[in-house]
């Protein structure tokens, strides 16, 4: 898969979790403003972490298995997308478990139709 390897993995995450929204109707994409707000702290903290890790040489990315597009600080575009895609999938998983089990998550369930 070459340069598309990392990007394809991220796309795979979105494809695998899509039925949770489409079939189980967990309404996570539907609440995209709340989703963006909820992802913001994670996104800031972890992108800063990665920038530090790259600067310190803790880890590095293959230029052959990524698009090769690096943003300022040397962070690949895919890595930035990772911190949006994985949280989105995690929220979908949480809402799916809640929908199926009915277990309390500490906040009111989304009323249908809104």
């Amino acid at each position: 898969m070459g340069h598309l390897t990392y990007l394809a993995l991220l796309a795979g995450c979105l494809v695998v979790t899509a039925p949770l929204e489409l079939v189980l109707r967990v309404r996570v994409y539907a609440r995209w403003r709340r989703l963006l707000l909820a992802v913001l702290p994670e996104f800031v903290v972890f992108v800063v972490w990665v920038l530090y890790a790259i600067a310190q040489g803790h880890w590095d990315y293959s230029d052959e298995l990524t698009l090769g597009l690096r943003l300022p600080g040397g962070i690949p575009v895919e890595e930035v997308l990772f911190f949006l895609v994985v949280p989105l999938c995690s929220v979908l998983a949480l809402e799916a478990v809640r929908r199926v089990t009915g277990w309390d998550a500490g906040y009111p369930a989304e009323e249908a139709g809104r």
């Binding site: 390897t5 990392y6 993995l9 995450c13 695998v16 609440r31 709340r34 989703l35 707000l37 909820a38 992802v39 913001l40 702290p41 994670e42 903290v45 972890f46 972490w49 530090y52 890790a53 310190q56 040489g57 803790h58 880890w59 590095d60 990315y61 293959s62 298995l65 990524t66 911190f83 994985v86 949280p87 999938c89 995690s90 929220v91 998983a93 949480l94 799916a96 478990v97 809640r98 089990t101 277990w103 309390d104 998550a105 500490g106 906040y107 009111p108 989304e110």
Partner: protein
């Protein structure tokens, strides 16, 4: 700070945020751990591919050296911190939004202007 140290600090940090800052208490809830169990399987899978194919490579000096499915164990702490921060924030955002909406919907008169 090494990756190992940062990973431990991150886990402690998100526990403080979840339990004391947001007070969402996600790590005390069954629904969180059931979801996390599913997420961690996919994390090991995806991380295994990323590290197994060498999409990401690590400086041996920055990690403990123990690996699970090709990835350093620190990645599990990294992933836990990332997922927990996200889900606690999601709970906090929804709690606030639903409470605000309910307060608005449930009152016939206009909301009090005293606060």
């Amino acid at each position: 700070m090494s990756y190992s140290t940062l990973a431990v600090v991150a886990v402690v940090g998100v526990l403080v945020v979840d339990l004391a800052v947001y007070r969402t208490r996600m790590v005390t809830r069954k629904v969180f751990w059931a979801a996390y169990a599913i997420i961690v399987v996919f994390q090991l899978l995806m991380n295994g591919v990323l590290t197994g194919l060498d999409v990401v490579t690590y400086d041996p000096g920055a990690i403990w050296g123990t690996r699970i499915a090709y990835a350093p164990v620190e990645d599990l702490l990294f992933g836990f911190a990332m997922v927990t921060l996200t889900l606690a924030s999601w709970a906090a955002v929804n709690r606030r939004a639903n409470t605000a909406r309910r307060r608005g919907l449930d009152t016939d008169t206009r909301p009090s202007s005293t606060r």
